[in-house]
Symmetry: C2
Subunit: 584 residues, 2 copies
């Protein structure tokens, strides 16, 4: 097992191998991928497909002198194995040492932390510019593919390279005919045409943008890949190397169902059965809502910038939705502006994506949607510290980044009923752009209002005294637990409030609290800076009311244990009780 | 004067005109452009060039049934004149009624408030989708050009249209061979090739993206434009209409110097002399700094996403900078990621743009720059309530949007020396990404430190008692004035602090203030929500210190008088004094 891979401690060891050994290395790498992925999950199809290309990259180029920039970087596992990090794949005890994305803290062979798509070409142009300014001499290679090309940042960069870069730069377009779900966009039609003509079609997007171009059909053949890289190594101008690879190559199930195996949970290698099962969740509630709503209302349309599973929309459900579903591919900016147009034309758009990816659209949310006050509903999954914990995928910035945009109503539901009611209210109303934070915790049950048109009205769920707890969104249950603990430990009943709105204050209610409360405690699932609690603290800043905010620090946390983090932050009920004792 | 234009109250009146009258209308519109632009300034070249195309649009299509979406919308003046708003151009008393951009509150012929580029195609796809969902029947026309095509949002949308739109949609690409400064990007090479081959070249970006395409050489000839629009009206699929126009057409000076006349201040029609003159400003200081620094340091490079004049970089200065200057064109996302790459390769990148446009890059600043902690310096012009007052160009969100991104050091200089020292410190240091808010007021003189490596250390400029004033950035002078007023009116000397850092707190100093102060007043040039003052209020929220924040509300202000706004907000010194009296 891992006969060759075990001998690889750096790219220098790859260069020593003969053709047969390189093939064995590829097989070893795939075995190692199985070892890690079946046990802890991760990005699957993208890594199986790129094994040969990355072996050839290390065989031909000289990393770290030559610079590799991986787009999204979730297809960097083989690269990682060849740069001193194989233990993270072949030795279960070392899994946690490897981040799943490129990470300069792990290795000098990784240039950037990269988790959002479409950045590699821009980052690489920067390396080129820096290299040329300093008079250095090395190859800069960007590896992009897997749907990332449709992102605006990548297209801006391609356009720029086509006119303004005049020295060495190699853009490897890994064309595996698949983004996360289906690929979308005219450029994929062009890639297909180029594949079918073996790169010879006159109709060539890259050439139209002013770039040199070369096609390699056998992207999963190491010797072919070595040849094409040898051809472009040390080239004196930018070139696109379009390679044809098979997503999931070497893992039959992933080859056959490329969408399902883009990313995986731990699974059984033979059956493909995932070792976890999903019950009802806010995601499944979302899918149910969408399917019912679409049937009843022909003006309703769901837009996703790739990632349809974020809304629980499997291939089958998407087909049922027909023209009431639009996947724009990885093109978040376009998705948001398009939603604004749909609303303007009288449609009812619901845009769903992950909290971390909506960051791409700060300007579109502000300009295209909110200045125009068009009734677009944006639903964010993983808007929680307890969701994705990779530093590049944190959902903890959503409130801070978006709640301060004028006109945007940000809703933070706390139960099944509230979630569904808010969703339906948002889609139906015509007055406001609305952003909804999908709860990150398990479904809870509590009765909720149907109408949210009185913006910024908080709900008092329990009327008490001395201490008022404002527990926002999916931290509401923590507020509930805290309220009980206060009753038990401190002997009085605090007031418990469900703010519901993350983007503004119920000033009357807050004013009212001054009568019989000394302390307001806020709890929110996000960073404190720019968030909800700071608005509350500011409201009381000229009064005698004390305010204590609980939430996360302004930090790029990385792969933390959520419970440990809460303890570090002093957010466990017993810790908060100690604070309260000092403050009242 | 305005013989024909005077008769035009709606597009219906345009449709009645014969060929000769249409020509006169074009001349009238140009006279009206001169009337407004010579007196109050505005976007010049883009409007002179598009007169004939917009006349033809209104002649052929039926707005508001048919929907026009203008990109940036600064080239919508002729459209506005033909849709009931000619008085804003021919009658000086009515200038202020017209916003300079499309504005749905002004007219049903305007679909969106649009001031940032590259949005029209996405917005139009939304209209198409909404139309088709509802079974409506009208033409949707996006007018894009003038450099906007290089923006990621536009490229994402073009790609989307090329595969996923299968009904009527008309994309007019106004090719006037000029963005704001020179055009950049491979796509402009392709536009040139298409112009030179009268649209016949096989090498065609639009076709490569899967779009139908038609070329019209005579974009400044009304009858030619009418013909081409008649040809595509009611088309059953998307098509790109590539039109060749002359930026500045009909205004000789603007035809000859397209960059200088993209936008203008009030000017003399004969000589072109602007009626205002510019003395030394923070912008001119910036240009001086850049030129000196570039000479001394070959690792230093300036990047602008178009808008080089934002850094005071005239064509001549840009040429002197040579390879130490990169204009990426309108491609903000790419610019930021590229800067990160430059820093990683050991270069010293300074990125300059307007505060309103950096919004496009929230994600790139967070992911490409700050997670990687690369020492990129981003300098923002017009980061002030007193700069651009159009609702789409406000600089008042910069602190709120960016100061809460981890790792980013946001600096708010208050004097000539501090500005230049901060700029140089930021460019030279290797520890932090830095964003600098260029002051929006006149240059003031005060001695400043050279070193800012002790992050978040505030500077006590005057030690006093009872009240501490934290006056951030270009509101420092207001703080100074307030301190004097307190001394005079209230009889004691307050403490005056220059925070210098907008992204964090000097906790020791704030703690120290508790000894002999009862009230902290914060002043900042931006919205309060998510801003600096709220951090201060939060810091003191569990203490007895009172805090009063002064700044702007979370609102989309539009074309306000800055001094009136301050009064409305209760921010004049006498108003603040009244507050203070109540609070101490």
């Amino acid at each position: 097992m891992y006969e060759i891979l075990k001998t690889i401690n750096s790219p220098a060891d790859v260069k020593k191998l003969n053709a047969e050994q390189l093939k064995t290395l590829a097989a070893d790498i795939r075995d190692a991928l199985f070892n890690r992925l079946t046990k802890i999950g991760g990005h699957c199809g993208p890594n199986f497909g790129i094994v040969e290309a990355e072996i050839a990259m290390h065989y031909v180029f000289d990393s770290p002198k030559d610079k590799f920039v991986f787009d999204v970087s979730h297809q960097s596992y083989p690269h990682k194995m060849m740069t001193g990090r194989k233990e993270g794949y072949i030795d279960d005890a070392h899994f946690s040492e490897d981040s799943g994305y490129t990470n300069p803290e792990e290795s000098e062979h990784d240039l950037f932390n990269v988790g959002h798509t479409s950045t590699s070409i821009s980052l690489a142009t920067g390396l080129v510019k820096g290299r040329d300014l300093k008079g250095d001499n090395y190859n800069v290679i960007a590896l992009i593919g897997d749907g990332s090309l449709s992102g605006g940042e990548a297209l801006e960069a391609l356009d720029f390279v086509g006119s303004d870069i005049h020295s060495n730069m190699i853009i490897v377009v890994n064309d595996n005919q698949q983004s996360i779900a289906e690929v979308h966009g005219g450029l994929y039609k062009n890639l297909t045409e180029l594949r079918e003509t073996k790169g010879k079609s006159q109709n060539n997007l890259f050439k139209a943008l002013g770039l040199d171009y070369i096609y390699e059909e056998n992207g999963n053949d190491i010797q072919s890949m070595i040849k094409v890289f040898q051809k472009v190594k040390d080239i004196d101008h930018p070139i696109v190397v379009h390679i044809n690879t098979k997503k999931g190559k070497g893992f039959k199930l992933a080859e056959e169902n490329r969408e399902a195996w883009h990313w995986c949970m731990p699974f059984d290698k033979q059956t493909g059965q995932w070792k976890v099962s999903f019950g009802e969740s806010y995601t499944s509630l979302t899918a149910d809502y969408i399917m019912n709503k679409a049937k009843k209302d022909k003006d309703f349309v769901v837009i996703t910038p790739a990632m349809p599973m974020t809304a629980g929309l499997s291939q089958d459900l998407r087909q049922q939705l027909g023209s009431q579903y639009v996947d724009v591919g990885i093109a978040e900016e376009h998705a948001v502006a398009m939603a604004s147009g749909v609303a303007k034309a009288g449609g009812k758009p619901l845009l769903v994506t992950n909290a971390t990816f909506i960051q791409r659209t700060y300007d579109q949310v502000s300009q295209d949607v909110c200045i125009n006050n068009n009734p677009v509903t944006i639903l964010l999954n993983y808007a929680s510290f307890d969701g994705l914990t990779d530093v590049t995928h944190l959902g903890i910035f959503a409130i801070s980044a978006f709640s301060n945009i004028p006109n945007l109503v940000m809703l933070a539901p706390t139960s099944r009923e509230e979630y569904l009611n808010m969703l339906d209210w948002a889609v139906e109303q015509k007055e406001h752009p609305v952003m909804i934070l999908m709860p990150g915790n398990a479904i809870t049950e509590r009765h909720a209002d149907k109408d949210y048109s009185k913006i910024n009205t908080f709900k008092v769920e329990q009327k008490g005294e001395k201490v008022a707890i404002l527990a926002l969104g999916d931290f509401y249950q923590r507020g509930e637990a805290l309220a009980k603990e206060i009753k038990t430990k401190l002997g009085f009943t605090p007031t418990l409030i469900n703010p519901r709105f993350a983007s503004g204050l119920d000033e009357n209610l807050l004013k009212d609290l001054e009568k019989d409360h000394q302390l307001v405690v806020t709890l929110e699932d996000g960073i404190l800076d720019g968030g909800f609690g700071q608005k509350v603290a500011t409201f009381y800043a000229t009064s005698d009311m004390k305010v204590k905010n609980y939430g996360l620090k302004k930090e790029f946390y990385d792969r933390y244990n959520p419970q440990d983090l809460l303890r570090q932050l002093g957010m466990l009920p017993e810790q908060i009780i100690e604070d309260i004792k000092k403050l009242i």
